[in-house]
């Protein structure tokens, strides 16, 4: 049977609205299609933990099913979970959030990103988004009718936004600043001084600071610092967090937002129409994660920490210079010494050595000249991937006439 892919009736108006039609496809998507068509690929392109959710957390989810807890929860999510979150925030930031009015459980932190933009933005309003950054932020600003204004972050400044760049980016239409530290894709974290500087910028300009801190428990140097630990910025702060990364629960799709009651109430309004409530089973599992998951989070963090040292040591040694990541599980080396663009580097590395990395340009224009390597992969796989990357870099150095780095010796 022949199936027509054309619409049944010819209408003058395109079926897909202009905003969506114009939205660039994710740079990652294109690369993903290339990777899945191949065999034997070692992937450093994965943006999720390689650990399975700790078993006691899975058990809590299974138990909730066995107990017949299969119906909706309240729109905001289980009160028991919101109370656990309030305790968690108080323990990690020193500040108390009201579980009834100031916390909303969402389907991943991603839903919360979407909700806050739809809550804040009038058509034409601007949101300052750092570049490079997670792919969803600028796209969701656009879908909410806003305009993402990108500001460059560079390794010279530890991939943190500089005050002068922020001041230059702000306009009468600026409503919010979207940040994500520890950062995907750069692995950068902010110092206490940087956090205070940004808080000052936000309050002075009366903006909303949206801080996606999903990687905060995966901080490797010094204590993790949340924007929520600064009382001065509290009324301007919407904190986004979730269970995916630190608790290895990506597939459970569970995150949360904490912020001022007026914004949380507005977000909840959209959420109740669009989502109803996050998955009940996942919420029960998350209660267990917060109650008893600390030990596993710490042992996963320790494992990432060791791999982080390993991968950045070897990348730097082979001439792909990188800042030592301070958080998350990504390293963002410069590939400029190879003379290749990010896209070329990633495609040829895949083609010639079967290693997948994500071109930096997937995260914004400023990602040109960089690639993102995830170290949420076993040490054995990292070792082999690094061996192949070094061979690739050596090939391409010699063709561009630069001096070869010392050969990779298995230490």
């Amino acid at each position: 049977m022949k199936v027509s892919t054309l619409p049944q009736t010819q209408s003058r108006k395109p079926r897909v609205n202009q905003t969506v039609a114009d939205l660039p496809p994710s740079g990652i998507r294109r690369f993903f299609d290339l990777v899945v068509s191949r065999q034997g690929v070692i992937s450093l392109g994965v943006g999720e933990p390689d650990f399975v959710t700790p078993w006691h957390i899975c058990e809590a989810g299974i138990h909730s099913l066995e107990s017949g807890r299969t119906s909706y929860t309240s729109n905001s999510g289980l009160l028991a979970l919101r109370e656990e979150i309030a305790q968690y925030l108080e323990a990690t930031t020193g500040n108390r959030y009201d579980p009834v009015k100031e916390i909303l459980i969402t389907v991943g932190a991603s839903e919360a990103v979407d909700l806050i933009f739809r809550t804040l933005l009038e058509p034409g309003d601007e949101v300052i988004v750092i570049d490079p950054s997670f792919v969803a932020y600028p796209a969701l600003v656009t879908l909410a009718g806003g305009i993402p204004v990108r500001i460059a972050t560079r390794p010279e400044y530890g991939f943190a936004p500089r005050r002068e760049d922020l001041d230059r980016a702000v306009s009468p239409r600026t409503r919010a600043l979207m940040l994500n530290y520890p950062n995907n894709p750069t692995g950068a974290a902010l110092s206490r001084d940087q956090i205070e500087e940004i808080a000052d910028f936000v309050t002075r300009n009366d903006l909303i600071l949206i801080s996606d801190e999903i990687y905060l428990p995966l901080t490797y140097e010094g204590d993790p610092i949340s924007f929520a630990s600064l009382p001065a910025v509290r009324n301007h702060l919407v904190l986004l967090h979730g269970f995916s990364k630190a608790w290895a629960m990506t597939g459970w799709r569970l995150g949360f937002a904490a912020g001022p009651p007026d914004l949380i109430a507005a977000m909840t309004k959209i959420h109740q129409y669009a989502i109803m409530c996050p998955p009940t089973m996942a919420q029960h599992a998350a209660v267990e994660a917060l109650k008893n998951g600390h030990k596993e989070v710490e042992s996963m963090r320790l494992e990432y920490d060791r791999r982080r040292r390993f991968i950045s040591h070897h990348l730097n040694r082979m001439g792909l210079t990188c800042m030592i990541p301070q958080g998350a599980f990504y390293v963002f080396p410069s590939i400029q010494s190879t003379g290749l663009s990010s896209q070329e580097f990633a495609e040829r590395l895949l083609d010639e050595y079967n290693v997948a990395v994500v071109p930096g340009t997937a995260f914004g224009e400023c990602g040109e000249g960089y690639i993102r390597c995830s170290y949420a992969t076993s040490l054995d796989a990292l070792r082999e991937a690094l061996r192949r990357i070094e061979a690739f870099v050596t090939d391409h150095r010699s063709t561009t006439g630069e001096t070869n780095p010392p050969p990779f010796r298995e230490p």
Binding site: F32, V35, E48, H314, E410, P411
Partner: protein, 164 residues
């Protein structure tokens, strides 16, 4: 008390015994010579006894037979259970010996080529020891997990190879 650097070295080596001192030093952000020295010292002091490969017996199918034996013994004045335990653990076919609380005293794990071989051991070597009062043998039918490693095949989780 074991020093913190030694503890950290043992943690990474217990996960992967093939790590070279240099790799371990990179993982731990420590000096390579210091790590190499500590490993050598721990080997000399008997803290590190050896390096083994974890083989999945379910995949090798060597038809060996294993048996867990509960042994009740008469402890001896001045030696407690140590002497009788030694007389048992000296047998090379005995893989493990534990002194346990509860309904019996020693739990031993023995491996042999056949049921006959294990029966011979129990009848001729173990039961006849003067301090052994009784034994109860449990033949091992399947290993699910050993030394922290899960041995049964699992579908595992398939992560999508590239994600944002």
């Amino acid at each position: 008390m074991i020093s913190s650097i030694r503890k950290k070295i043992l943690e990474v080596l217990e996960k992967d015994a093939r790590l070279t001192p240099r790799e371990a030093a990179i993982l731990l952000s420590e000096d390579e010579n210091l790590v190499a020295g500590e490993i050598a010292a721990m080997e000399a002091e008997g803290i590190i006894l050896g390096y083994k490969t974890i083989v999945n017996p379910e995949r090798v199918r060597d038809d060996k037979v294993a048996c867990l034996i509960e042994v009740s013994v008469q402890p001896e004045r001045g030696h407690g259970f140590d002497k009788i335990a030694e007389r048992i653990y000296r047998f090379p076919e005995v893989r493990s010996v534990y002194l346990v609380s509860g309904g019996y005293d020693l739990l031993i794990v023995i491996e042999g080529q056949s049921l006959r071989e294990i029966a011979d051991f129990v009848i001729e070597k173990l039961s006849v020891l003067p301090n052994v009062r009784s034994t109860a043998s449990h033949f091992l039918l399947k290993k699910y997990k050993e030394l922290g490693t899960i041995l049964v095949e699992s579908d595992g989780q398939e992560r999508i190879p590239v994600s944002p």
